[in-house]
Amino acid sequence: MKLRSDLVLRTIGSDHLIVDPSQDMVDLSTVYTLNSTAAWLWEQLKGTEFELNTIVGLLCDNYEVDQEQAQSDAKVLLGDFEKQGLLEK
């Protein structure tokens, strides 16, 4: 799977939000925000083909989490990305 390439991650202060600036009309009536870990992951995954294990690997290599916790966090994140239409179809 892949992240939608038309979406951009903006960081304002300590908040990270995902916007779709590619259109002439930008919809900010529904805004997706990411915490800093998710925002970091977004940057790592941007433009690449990835799967659940890619996220698990990234989390384990860069954060102090065990495999099991990383697996469950990655699942939640992917589920959210999918539900909110942030992945390419």
Binding site: I12, L17, D27, L28, Y32, N35
Partner: protein, 154 residues
Amino acid sequence: MTEHSEDNKTRIISNDLYFTEVQRMLDEGKEVRIRIKGGSMRPFIEDGDSVLLQAYRGGTLQLGSNLLAKHQGKYVFHRYVGKKNGQIVLAGDGNLVLREYIDTTDIIAVASVHYPQQSAEEINLNDRWARLRGLVWYRIRLLRRIVAKLKRMV
């Protein structure tokens, strides 16, 4: 890890930061759709409805139009109801007394379309009828105050 701020209760990013982004998009020449919070534009715009904004770059303002502006450090989305001492007077449709006095440089954007949350309708905010009914609603504030008082007494 992701949070969805469509619901007002779950809004976690501050208003200031949010409007910084709105402003940036407007500056890039884009139209921006935002969600309206609160009831200060009732009965015409309900809490949760959204509107489409275009940057205001000076020029003539149509009386009765809906503006996003900065007032005393806060962002307001209210109706342009008149001018006084060279200042722009704004009023929320749902407010009975309050008015905001701002300069044209405080105006950020003008709204063009209203998307009610409860229907698929798209309302043109700048047609004559929409502006006129908003202005009439403002003019009868005194009457509305009396009605509100009577309602409280019942």
